[in-house]
């Protein structure tokens, strides 16, 4: 049975504050350590206590990058979870819960009620131990080895002292042994023994961005907390001491962005992070970055708008906004990582582009990717290249805005030479002083915009999966995972479909895009917004028609099987398939 494929979804649900995330992250770590393929989905509400939150993990014996519909194992920490997720359970699904708190619901999969406090009396003093009992029970149900988990518990709780480790181990064993003692339940899922344990980092998208920034030598991070960007902020703060980064909580996003520019001007690499509403407040300073030619990296972790929208949900609707944000015309780059590895490497790339072109670079992510865990190859930091661009020491006759053919002027840092560095938000002369000479204006505007030409040459090539030219699914940013899985599924089912994922969204270049898209006969664009924003941009740049759009705006990410079914509807009809359908219709 060792080679049997398996694919399970585990859902842990409860009220905010019941520790679903802690248990979810522990499980994610366990499965990564065991060498399983894993992907997560976190759904939470904009509240601190109560409500209904859940953490989902899908584990599989083959590579997966997203969730699918349904739940095989439900850990219900409150009654509401049973009620809410009942419809996601099938006949084989198992719901685990504490009999003392939750009433079983007949007709919803198989009810596995545990008497938690009898199994582990320690749960009486602290209900959080119940979660560790469930962890043991899950391991026994799945037939997973327990040693790696015990080691992990020791490592996780090590800082809290021996007593905490001992109690957690006891809770874990109590859950494990209880299930192992029940022949009806033990090893019910027979997940194979560790597959191919490749080392993997346990990082979500936002942590990967922060690590990328640290790797790129970022020295300053300023932000105002805003979901779902806040974990970039927290991770940066956690790294600050070791990585020599100043992390400052600004009074508002306006200050955050202006601080980033002040720090960048003074000579360090600087970044801020926010979500749509905060980005809106940064926009004037974004334009300032364009005028000062001041490098800056801005993370926009999208959530559904307009306005406050759905603070803890996901969407890809800020694309048009970030591409056009800011008064006047100036070059900027917009990057949209598709997974944690891209979060890391594109952040490094963002800093290099920002410095080399002396422009703002926006990293466009969203709640789904921000909170997403999966199999992440350890980042090879020796491959990180720090390119600070054209930096000189300010000599006596230094001027900041020297006119050059490619628009990039030698950059100097204040105090690092006998000369002075003059940066001005007004239109300015080469030496940085404000001017109203309109001929200078023409030259300076052209100089700034000249960078676009070289930037277009650096447009990142989209990644392609599949060899079929009949149908192409187009996607960008965090839709990568669900699209990969959906296209894989369709290919397995015999459909001729490939996938193209864009991680650079701006600036684009029409002739390159046309050459990339030309071989495909039917184009289907998948994105998390109502307007088909990327499809529209592609059309504007290439005059190529996107044949179909699959859009989602309910605040949730795409799911593999749902998405595959939607894509299937838009595929070019296969000759034989068309006949069959016509015959059926005649009947």
């Amino acid at each position: 049975m060792k080679s049997k494929t398996f694919d399970y979804v585990i859902t842990i649900g409860g009220e905010a504050g019941q520790g679903m995330q802690t248990l979810g992250v522990l499980l994610a770590k366990v499965f990564l350590k065991l060498g399983y393929f894993m992907s997560t989905l976190q759904s939470y509400q904009s509240r601190i206590r109560g409500g209904h939150n859940f953490f989902q993990l899908r584990i599989s014996s083959r590579p997966i990058h997203s969730l699918r519909r349904g739940t095989d194992l439900l850990v219900a920490l409150d009654q509401n979870t049973i009620e809410t997720h009942c419809r996601n359970l099938n006949r084989q699904s198992v719901a685990i819960f504490d009999l003392a708190r939750i009433k079983p619901k007949p007709g919803c999969g198989q009810m596995l009620g545990l008497e938690i406090e009898r199994i582990f009396p320690g749960a009486k003093e602290n209900e959080i131990f119940a979660n560790i009992v469930y962890l043991g029970a899950l391991m026994a149900l799945l037939g997973c080895p327990s040693d790696p988990v015990e080691k992990l518990l020791a490592a996780t709780f090590g800082k809290k002292g021996e007593d905490v480790i001992v109690k957690n181990r006891a809770a874990f064993r109590a859950g494990l042994e209880y299930i192992l003692g029940q022949s009806a339940w033990k090893n019910r899922y027979q997940a194979p023994a560790p597959l191919n344990p490749q080392s993997s980092l346990l990082v979500h998208g936002n942590q990967a961005i922060a690590l990328g920034a640290a790797a790129a030598g970022c020295g300053f991070y300023s932000a105002y907390p805003m979901t779902p960007s806040t974990s970039v902020f927290e991770t940066m703060a956690g790294l600050a001491a070791k990585a020599n980064i100043i992390v400052e909580q600004a009074e508002d996003e306006i200050a955050a962005m202006n601080m980033v520019l002040g720090a960048s001007y003074a000579g360090t690499r600087a970044m801020t992070g926010t979500s749509g509403g905060g980005f809106a407040l940064m926009v004037e300073a974004l334009s300032l970055a364009g005028m000062l030619e001041c490098p800056a990296v801005i993370v926009n972790a999208q959530r559904p708008g307009p306005a406050t929208g759905l603070p803890t949900r996901t969407e890809q609707a800020d694309l048009g906004f970030v591409i056009h944000a800011g008064h006047g015309e100036f070059p900027r780059v917009v990057l949209a990582p598709g997974n944690q590895e891209e979060c890391f490497w594109l952040t490094v790339h963002a800093f290099n582009l920002a410095d080399r072109y002396q422009i703002p670079v926006i990293i466009l992510t969203d709640q789904y990717l921000a909170d997403l865990y999966g199999n992440v190859k350890p980042f090879q930091t020796e491959k990180v290249k720090i390119e600070r661009g054209l930096v000189v020491e300010a000599g006596e006759s230094y001027v900041r805005y020297r006119l050059t053919p490619d628009g990039v002027s030698p950059r100097a840092f204040p105090g690092k030479g006998p000369g002075v560095v003059i940066a001005d938000s007004d239109e300015h002369t080469e030496d940085g002083h404000l001017t109203e000479d309109l001929n200078v204006r023409i030259k300076m505007n052209a100089k700034r915009l000249a960078k676009l030409k070289s930037l277009q040459r650096e447009l990142l090539r989209p990644t392609v999966q599949g060899i079929h030219k009949d149908n192409l699914v187009l996607c960008w940013g965090s839709s990568l995972g669900p699209c990969q899985d959906a296209v894989n599924q369709l290919a397995d089912e015999g459909s001729k479909v490939s996938l193209m994922h864009f991680s650079q969204l701006w600036p684009l270049e029409g002739s390159k895009l046309r050459s990339w898209l030309a071989p495909y006969r039917r184009l289907i664009c998948v994105e998390g917004n109502a307007g088909g924003q990327f499809a529209r941009i592609l059309r504007a740049e290439t005059e190529i028609t996107i044949h179909a759009k699959i859009l989602r705006t309910d605040g949730k990410p795409f799911l593999q099987d749902e998405l595959a079914a939607q894509i299937k509807k838009h595929l070019r009809p296969v000759a034989s398939g068309r006949k069959k359908r016509m015959i059926r219709r005649k009947k």
Partner: protein, 284 residues
């Protein structure tokens, strides 16, 4: 030795007789008195007539957005504490558009000096009320007179225990230069609010009006700027007699000192790969 000519720059575009000239001269004198070289000084400003000042003396300049001089100035100082950083702007720039940043700069207590050219009116946009315009003053957009009460930047700063709160007058350049030099030397955030006549739009608070009223708090040898309550009382004084000088002084811990930021070491990343791999281990 630095001299005034080291700070020579382009010609100002201010109205003839503007109070800004006196402030410009006082800043230069203060920097020369402290023997600061022009490349060691960073002037950050926003937008307005006052905010053009950094262009008019040779030094590093970050002339950013209206109201946003303080965030840029504070960040530059955090990143490179070796720079002498001044944030310069008018009353609209610093107390209106940038009012929130002013409050939080008081909290952070970063070692920069804020100089507010306070002419109690909007000059560059031609004569609207500013946050410090007196109640009842009629303008083109407040034809029935300003309804809101003016901000008192001094009481505001003292109430938040700002370590250095001073008021100068652009008609007394030598005294103002002394205040600015003292503000720069103060370890922490220093505020210098400067009474500055606007010759074009403020026909009430003229040079003559101020000359007749201002007096140096030091004239009374018993005035103790370290007494918070006395300082608050002094800052409230306005009318026939207007106090100038160091109104309040106290020593709190400065931001970079609290966080242990000493030099511009944020620019340097030694042995970095080792550090990174160390960090990544936490996520393995």
């Amino acid at each position: 030795m630095t001299t005034l000519s080291d700070y020579q720059s382009i010609a100002p575009a201010w109205c003839p007789g503007c109070g800004d000239f006196g402030i410009l001269h006082a800043i230069k004198k203060a920097l020369v008195a402290l023997d600061k070289k022009s490349h060691e000084v960073l002037l950050c400003s926003g937008i307005g007539q006052a905010a053009k000042l950094p262009h008019y003396l040779r030094c590093n300049v970050f002339n950013g957005l209206h109201g946003r001089a303080l965030p840029a100035a504070q960040a530059a100082k955090m990143v490179n504490p070796a720079l002498t950083v001044l944030a310069i702007g008018g009353d609209g720039d610093m107390y209106g558009e940038g009012g929130n940043h002013f409050l939080h700069a008081l909290r952070r207590n970063i070692d920069i000096t804020m100089i507010a050219h306070n002419n109690k009116i909007y000059g560059l946009t031609k004569g609207q009320a500013s946050p410090t315009t007196d109640q009842g003053v009629a303008t083109k957009v407040q034809p029935q007179g300003v309804a809101s009460r003016p901000i008192n930047p001094l009481t505001l700063a003292i109430s938040q225990n700002c370590g250095f709160v001073a008021r100068g007058f652009s008609g007394r350049v030598d005294h103002l230069a002394e205040l600015i030099a003292a503000g720069i030397q103060h370890r922490g955030f220093s505020l210098i609010d400067v009474l500055q006549p606007c010759v074009s739009f403020n026909k009430i608070n003229t040079f003559a009006w101020y000359q007749a009223r201002v007096y140096n708090v030091k004239d009374n040898p018993e005035y103790n700027p370290q007494s918070w309550h006395r300082a608050l009382d002094k800052a409230l004084e306005w009318g026939d007699r207007i106090p100038i000088g160091i109104i309040y002084k106290s020593l709190g811990k400065e931001y970079n000192e609290i966080l242990g930021i000493r030099s511009n070491d944020k620019l340097v990343k030694n042995d970095y790969n080792k550090v990174l791999n160390d960090i990544l281990k936490q996520f393995a």
